[in-house]
């Protein structure tokens, strides 16, 4: 305990000195730092903040030091995160490398691969994208067909991926490929390659929100060095599933108003008072008030459940069955929240662009549309319910 207190003091002092004041303000979405070869820093402090945090390995606090991480224990990391929250520090780096690929590499990659890729993820030098879904393999991900042939001194990749987030901006891809067409799950391999390789093409897809964060990605005779295979040939499905767990954890936080929560619009009850009106200090519409209360109560219950699950894990009682519902419940909760915001704001949340609406209002409209994808990406709600039915409840096929 004493050691932790000392650690906290050190961190406090370090953050005080090293976190630039502008990095302690709410972050507009366009200032999110994704890193990569073509990283753009609209605010020069963001680069400074990233470099300083990365130098200490604190963009990946719990990864081992030998791979550029912070080498912190679980408790030390908790302290670090608390202190970062306390000063309202912006995340220095947002990255699929940090959230998804890194943990999988730590578990499954060989030494050479870890040394090659992990430090660059920590420093935000390489931006990764995820090559999972295909036009014919969505919920049935293991039905993927992107072909990977052994050509002696290299692999040759041909096929197509879809919903590849930021493929047009990414430097490298972690990609599921078919190395044995005669079986299903046992014919999948986990491959890493450079998006600059000849034969790779990414085309952005315009989504209902008007944004284009996803791409169709085409591979035509892409040559990949053999050392870029992670794990054994045809054993990629195990890695793929583990990585999906990390992805779901990332997405389920959304129900708490985390990532992409239409920030800056204020609490539901304040929005209701501002846009619908109040009588005697109360929201004028009893029905809206009731909807808000349902939403707030369920959000609280969900937050407590995530907290309980974390405490159970810490107490060594395992991840617990509760964690299996996070992706499903968190995303459905987030969708409901946006539906409610639209009802509270009326036509002010129905603008598309231009001067008739302020940025916060447009952001709500666009985020409402974006939120619909939450219960589709990373395993649909229906797939999540299947998983709970079968794995947790033991119901048969």
């Amino acid at each position: 305990m004493e050691a932790l207190d000392k650690f906290r003091q050190e961190i406090k002092a370090w953050l005080e000195e090293n976190c630039p004041p502008s990095m302690r303000t709410p972050m507009p979405e366009e200032e999110t730092v994704w890193g990569g070869r073509n990283a753009r820093f609209t605010n020069p402090d963001a680069k400074l903040w990233l470099d300083r945090m990365a130098a200490r390995g604190w963009t990946a606090p719990t990864w081992p030091k030998e791979y550029g991480g912070g080498g912190l224990t679980r408790d030390e990391n908790l302290v670090l995160q608390q202190e970062l929250r306390r000063i309202k520090a912006r995340p220095p780096l947002s990255s699929f490398g940090l959230w998804m690929l890194g943990p999988a590499l730590l578990e499954f990659a060989n030494e050479e691969q870890k040394k090659e890729h992990l430090p660059k993820i920590v420093r935000g030098e390489i931006r990764w994208c995820q090559g999972y879904s295909e036009p014919g393999a969505g919920s049935d991900l293991a039905g993927l067909q992107t072909k990977c042939e052994d050509k002696g001194d290299h692999y040759l990749v041909n096929g197509q991926k879809i919903w590849t987030s930021y493929a047009d901006k990414a430097d490298w891809i972690f990609c599921l490929v078919r190395t044995d067409p005669t079986t299903k799950h046992d014919g999948i391999s986990f491959l890493l390659f450079d998006m600059m390789s000849p034969g790779v093409e990414a085309r952005p897809i315009t989504m209902i929100s008007g944004a284009s964060p996803f791409c169709e990605t085409f591979f035509t005779d892409v040559k990949v060095p053999k050392k870029n295979l992670v794990g054994e040939l045809n054993k990629g499905w195990t890695i793929a599933k583990r990585l999906l767990q990390h992805e779901r954890e990332m997405i389920s936080g959304m129900g708490l108003g985390g990532v992409g929560a239409g920030g800056g619009i204020g609490s539901l009850e304040q929005v209701a008072k501002d846009y619908f009106g109040e009588t005697g200090g109360r929201i004028a519409g009893p029905s809206l008030r009731d909807h808000i209360t349902r939403q707030k109560m369920d959000s609280k219950a969900f937050a407590l459940t995530m907290q309980r699950s974390a405490e159970e894990a810490k107490a060594g009682q395992g991840p617990g069955a509760a964690s299996s519902i996070f992706k499903y419940y968190g995303t459905e909760l987030n969708k409901r929240r946006y539906e409610l915001l639209l009802e509270l704001m009326g036509t002010r949340a129905l603008g598309w662009e231009g001067d008739g609406f302020d940025d916060g209002e447009i952001n709500v409209t666009r985020s409402w549309l974006r939120s619909k994808g939450n219960s589709i990406e990373g395993g649909t709600s229906e797939v999540q319910l299947n998983v709970v039915s079968k794995r947790v409840l033991g119901l048969p096929d």
């Binding site: 009731d290 209360t293 349902r294 407590l304 405490e311 009682q317 499903y328």
Partner: protein, 379 residues
């Protein structure tokens, strides 16, 4: 926050589980119902519960209690909920024990708390006056009369009212019907002249009564807490009861879920177990999620009382609203998934549905608590 149980608490839960499964299984409730038992609960079992320390679980050792605290009581209530055990835990321990603990003077505490802990006294709180929980609206009047008071009015839905050895009556000593102040709690002997108690047979086969007070004389020493200042105590007592009842409902919900899940794995139609149908699987998985949230809320609410947090009213309303809704949903779904058998008295799921409805209506249903939460949060 303690959302994970300590070893001591796990031990208590195991003791409670074993006790209710062996001593008060659901067959016990059926027997009380079918024999029209005069007490409406098993007096022998209640004595055993006090020997195990359940009756004195919130009472300090000074008065013979075990002082296990609210989380401990919640664990016992959850296990009681699993077998629909009828006992005076709610009326006597949650409501009246808490009221005396919070508001009683030294004499009252010594007398009442030690009797409750020993299992020697059944008590009932007479508060409701209409078909909906409304503690802010009290019409029953207590008028000063020399060195005593005269109580007149009628109370309904008094849990364990017809078997109580002593009543706590909520009456108005000042102000208008809907005023928050001017409420006083009185300890009343049910055998007093002018008290007329009528047992009401409820759908859940548990105890309740209507009580008429006609000019009932009570000495001023029978005032519990301060004159006109009963509302603060009452709100705290009710929140403890709401949270405790939520813990009981958690047990009820979990048991209905477990029973239904087992039935889905056993009942065959179209040549396969019906639990293999996705239409049922998804509903069960969604219910599983809701129940996990129920558990977190109940645990947090119990530790809120234990830690004397200032958000007890809010979390009490969240817990009672959620458990009222989910217990209704779960028992309805459970019945539907049992098909025609669910409609029979022989199957237990109907008993759970009946209890769920009564528990939901006690101390405020989901509508009451959502409205209350919005008021507490200032919107």
């Amino acid at each position: 926050m303690a959302l994970v149980l300590t070893e001591e608490q796990q031990l208590l839960r195991d003791t409670a589980t074993q006790f209710f499964q062996e001593r008060l299984p659901i067959a016990n409730l059926r027997k009380l119902r079918d024999t029209k038992d005069a007490s409406g609960f098993d007096r022998g079992a209640w004595k055993e519960m006090s020997d195990l320390g359940f009756a004195g679980i919130m009472i300090s050792e000074k008065y013979g209690g075990t002082d296990f605290g609210p989380v401990g009581l919640g664990l016992v209530l959850e296990q009681a909920g699993r077998t629909l055990a009828a006992s005076p835990l709610i009326s006597t321990v949650l409501l009246c024990g808490s009221a005396v603990q919070l508001a009683g003077n030294a004499t009252q505490r010594q007398d009442i708390l030690s009797a409750i802990a020993a299992g020697d006294r059944i008590m009932a709180l007479a508060i409701e006056e209409g078909p909906h929980h409304n503690p802010a609206r009290i019409a029953t009047k207590a008028t000063p009369d020399g060195n005593s008071y005269r109580i007149s009015g009628s109370k309904t839905f008094v849990l364990d009212g017809h078997v109580a050895d002593q009543l706590i009556v909520v009456a108005r000593t000042a102000g208008e019907e809907s005023d928050r102040s001017g409420i006083t709690l009185f300890l009343v002997d049910p055998k007093s002249e002018g008290v007329k108690i009528t047992r009401t047979l409820m759908v859940d086969s548990r105890n309740a009564a209507n009580i008429e007070f006609s000019n009932v004389a009570v000495p001023s020493s029978a005032v519990l807490g301060s004159v006109d200042g009963g509302n603060d105590v009452l709100e705290q007592v009710l929140d403890i009861a709401r949270i405790g009842l939520s813990a009981e409902m958690l047990g009820l919900v979990q048991q209905t879920f477990d029973t239904t899940l087992a039935y889905l794995k056993e009942r065959k139609q179209f040549g396969k177990v019906i639990g293999s149908f996705q239409a049922l699987q998804h509903r069960m998985a969604a219910l599983f999620a809701e129940i996990e949230l129920c558990r977190s809320v109940v645990l947090d609410a119990l530790s809120a009382i234990e830690d004397r947090r200032n958000d007890v009213p809010q979390i009490a309303s969240i817990a009672k609203a959620r458990l009222s809704e989910i217990s209704t949903l779960m028992t309805n779904e459970g019945l539907q998934m049992h098909g025609g058998m669910g409609m029979t008295d022989q199957f237990d799921v109907g008993l759970y549905m009946k209890r769920a409805r009564v528990a939901a209506a006690s101390f405020g249903d989901a509508n009451f608590h959502r409205e209350r939460y919005a008021t507490l949060e200032g919107y």
